[in-house]
Amino acid sequence: MKKVKADPKGVLTGAHYLDGDHALAEGALAAGCRFFAGYPITPSTETAERFAERIPKVGGVFIQMEDELASIAALIGAAWGGKKVMTVTSGPGFSLMMENIGLACMLETPLVIANVQRGGPSTGLPTLTGQQDMMQVKWGSHGDYEIIALSPDSPQECFDLCIEAFNLSEIYRVPSFVMTDECVGHMHEKVVIPPAEEIELVERKWYKGPKDKYLPFKPDEDMIPFMVKVGDGYHFHVTGLTHDERGYPVINAECQNVCVPHLVDKINMNADKIIKLEEDETDNAEIIVISYGITSRVTTRAVRKARKAGIKVGTIRLITVWPFPEKRIKELAKKIKAFVVPEINYGQVVYEVERCAFGQAPAIRVPHCGGWVHDPEDIFKAIKEASK
């Protein structure tokens, strides 16, 4: 993994008062993103607008495509053309992208998608918050694959995690997602953008060997294949069909059972390196509240109240939601009374917690179908109930 410093051209060093959507664009530009293709959709449009405004001044391209199908397709083309690429969307657009998210996974293409989540299903609540695409991001395209998904809790983290998403997508040659939501996306707060030399980026894993020996899908020691870009003279082929290391289609069970496990294993076997959590007082906790994104901030209020009431509560904030911190949850499940999982949906990640807890501790959901963040009181009540 070759580390490089950010190009100062894209880095708007200083303190700013930005909303999460704009911070995403700044994070991407700082990470070296020079190609954006997107389609307007509330509540993510501000990111596209910021790109349209900023990218012509840093030597990149912005294009508003005809729909989200085209946006993600253009990203795949541009990534293979050598660019760092990003798009942003929300629920309905995210659904449209699913087909080519699968292609991006199959072609092991580094790209970043931000989903500023709103209430669903269907058109749902265009202008109001939700965290209802958390399972879709992992399972939404057909077939078996893995992705990386991060969840920022503030405009500052939209900036920080967008850079992280770019780095992870390059390291693992995988689509990476910033799963934010309307609340964070539209919320203005202070965002500090560091000087370029303090922003560490990962360079794409370029192949440098002989031209006729390049194999686009041959895993290296770290499981990740090398990449080349179109125009470098390798005359390579990649396909969304089940393929061998050469990228040639091979339509049989044998090839499928090499091709697909690789897509899953390269993420799962590196999960410890990828996962970032924020734990607080989990060591002696009886109850652990697991949350992510804006919900974790709201949760803190409830947890403070519960602690005042004498309940031993710990918290885990999932900065990385996928891959899931399976090991850690398993470990903690043995020691605690219950997990409490508030999220702005009718129950999604809570079932992953339940799976990992493996019957050792119940996972109690605190559902909220979107439109607003939780009332901290509801989370407090769930903690209190769980501690009985």
């Binding site: 190609f35 293709a37 085209a70 083309g77 541009a78 053309g81 179109v230 990649v238």
Partner: protein, 290 residues
Amino acid sequence: MKEEDRREGKNPIENLLRMDRIPHIWCPGCGIGVVVTSFAEALRKSEIDLDKTAIISGIGCTGRVAGYVKLDSIHTTHGRAVPVATGLKLANPELKVVVFSGDGDIAGIGGNHFIHAARRNMDLVIICVNNFNYAMTGGQVAATTPISANASTAPFGNFEYPFNLPYLAEASGATYVARWTALHLRRVTKSVQEALGRRGFSFIEVITPCVTLYARRNRLGDGLNLLKYYYEKSEIQHGADTKTLDISYQGKLIVGKFVDKDKPTFLDCMNEHLGKVLGDKYEPYGGNHD
């Protein structure tokens, strides 16, 4: 042709194909291979930098072309070859990007992408093999199936109006539009050469028999006869008004080069416009900076 190739009796276009993937999947008598040959011949003749030429396909019988041509090649999803090509072209404007796909892919499921890329005069070469049906899936009715022609999902004959692709392309903004049948080998080659040599959205439709499904179901004959059938039904009318190019069942096929005009491409417009409005703040965009 290199001397050693001549000694081995190699076809001159073999260097342009992934011979390790031959035999291909197409049916005997299928016209797609013929179009690929004409295309490869154009690549050879045009002397463009093959390292800087890429081919993108979608899904379907013609969608497999990207897998057989020895260029940087991406076999994408159904209908999405054009937007993938758009992204690739914009990432590196030095590249010549060719989309090689079928009528179902380009005009059916990918129709929206097609018209928008044409509208932008995106600098792409689109080669559309039109065989009047969805062949890979077994001969279903398509957006190009002539009225009254039979298809597996139009078992009593098609009653929907089909697209006139050259008209659609021109109306959407394409700056080069041609149509041939597969057996117009040299004409196809020449059109591809012209398209590779120009800038802007170029569209070449090639009418091609689907021996196994469309032709059999419609009792149009087989193999070489069928290639000849289309060829013989055709009439060259260069510069014909694209409005007049509807294809009727077993009717006359008007072919030729209909449109060839200069117009600034997407990137020309972007650079010119942003340069004018933003002045020094604009960094002219011209490709990879590495």
